[in-house]
Subunit: 331 residues, 2 copies
């Protein structure tokens, strides 16, 4: 295993210290339990957004802490849920008096632990709403999931619900935005290569030199099928058509098109994928009104990509365009 | 070879079309010869910045076209210099009447072709200045270079000279800023893995499973030495100490610290590297006043990183902080 790390058991804390050192104006880090919060938290009168999950998906979630997006992120061990005490302490640290929204990717451990944290917070009188993200059309259930997995839509939910919170909408309203973004988003990913979890030291799965996995999960969970490596012009439709179909997109619809790198994919390849995606959508008469191209929800050093489409309306477009200032996303 | 591409010979144009489709508000693309320009070019009365080089280093340079940075980028074939006609046409397209600055990484082909383009432009009455970037302390000469290679400082030069041009400084003044940034910057990189040039289809070099290359070039050129894989806490000093020494940094100096990913390196590892870098600089009494962490000058899907330090003064800090709006860098 070749990685730029120290001891495998120190990966999460070492990276948190790096984020803290690099972005001290944006975030504050707390350890044991581990969480990152906005440097100016708690923001009084603003609904607080808290997310988290296993590490290894960076910049998700710590890179999205800041104005216009998350108030706190709870990083678990690599590919392993954070614990309820992380979510509890983070939520209390950022609660501005108007409640906390938990944004939870649909994995069994994350759901269970966020639910427990929400119960503990309720007992302490903190108002909590939870939104489960489940946008991956690849498989119905998976190794770690009952129901669809939460993937790329998480980034969009965090951005748009974050913008709604900045407008001082109520907890119920911000949760409504988050659910709407999730409901109108679908994703599918693929892998060219596996990834290696540091404390295991061996690739999560093996993929022959001439094969790729269509429908991969962000922890290397199996997808729909393996196929021979093919040109981007053939691979991108395998990801996009199921998304278009599941989202029931029609000619004239406007979408946000998000091409995401899995961590080890260079920018040049992501733009080649985007070019194919744009052609497919044009063929369906679907207009890309907004887009995002980059590695925002990753699987360590896995090579591959995912495509997320979100059906836009005026409200969501405005929330997307609203200012954001985080380590990984800013405008 | 597993990559998200179509035909190897179409990689550059397919990626340009993707950039054009994704960022039509920011850039316009031209083909045959290939170049990207600011959507609002030419900006009358502003010195125009033109850069370019082999493709495979994205987001450099096309991702840096826009307000506050480059006016045009000329992408050559992967790891191969663009041709003088690309630079000529791009320069003419963005010339706002006050001259053009060519920002050239120190590789033999780039230098020769930019020089020829500058001569042709002079014959057409366009004022041109050229700045050669040569910040890599790893080796004195290399496979493709007489003298030091141009690497990470290129990003900083493009940002700061771009800001100076936005302030409507003269061509001589903008060139002076570019030379100053280069003179005060030093870099060194390392690779965990090789990369594969699409039209070759085989890795550029081979590296045993337990070895890394210290001082690697951005085209996979040999570095200083190969060592066994080691913890980040041992690798980062191998890159940083030669940079500190060559830059003659002293206690009390302020720097911009740039941790760059080589294309296949996940964000979590870059922040672990940043954490080690911050500790080393603190040990020298050097203050990190600004930083940049991400994959900005890459070598296709190579895993590894480079570290660039730039000695800051008030002028350079202000130029760094000035607004920028490009596909890959914005604030």
């Amino acid at each position: 295993m070749k990685k730029l790390i120290n001891k495998p058991e120190d990966v999460v804390v070492d990276a948190m210290r790096g984020i803290e050192a690099a972005h001290s104006g944006l975030v504050k880090a707390f350890y044991d339990p581990n969480y990152l919060i906005r440097a100016d938290a708690p923001v009084q009168g603003k609904v607080a957004l808290v997310s988290g999950g296993g590490s290894g998906h960076e910049p998700l979630h710590g890179g999205f802490v800041g104005m216009g997006m998350l108030d706190a992120a709870c990083p678990g061990p690599v590919f392993t849920s954070p614990t309820p005490d992380q979510m509890l302490e983070a939520s209390k640290a950022v609660n501005g008096g108007t409640g906390v929204l938990h944004i939870v990717k649909n994995y069994t451990g994350d759901c269970m632990n966020f639910e427990m944290a929400a119960e503990l917070l309720s007992m302490e009188g903190v108002q909590v709403e939870s939104v489960i993200i489940n946008d991956d059309v690849a498989v119905q259930d998976s190794l770690y999931t009952a129901g669809r997995r939460g993937v790329g839509a998480t980034v969009l939910v965090e951005k748009m619900a974050g913008a709604a919170a900045e407008q001082r909408r109520t907890l119920a309203e911000v949760a409504e935005v988050a659910r709407k973004v999730n409901a109108h988003s679908r994703s599918m990913g693929m892998a060219l290569t596996s990834c290696t979890v540091p404390h295991r030291g061996e690739p999560t799965f093996s993929l022959p030199d001439d094969e790729i996995e269509i429908g991969i999960g962000i922890h290397g969970e199996p997808g729909r099928r393996r196929v021979k490596i093919a040109p981007a012009a053939e691979i991108v439709p395998m990801l996009t058509e199921p998304v278009i179909s599941d989202l029931a997109l029609n000619s004239g619809d406007e979408v946000l098109a998000f091409v995401n790198g899995m961590g080890g994919t260079p920018s040049i390849e992501l733009y080649i994928v985007y070019n194919e995606l744009a052609k497919i959508l044009a063929g369906h008469g679907v207009k890309i009104a907004r887009n995002l191209v980059g590695s925002y929800i990753t699987s360590l050093e896995m090579q591959g990509c995912s495509i997320t489409l979100l059906r836009l309306d005026d409200e969501l477009t405005q929330l997307w365009d609203a200012p954001v200032k985080t380590a990984a996303l800013r405008w």
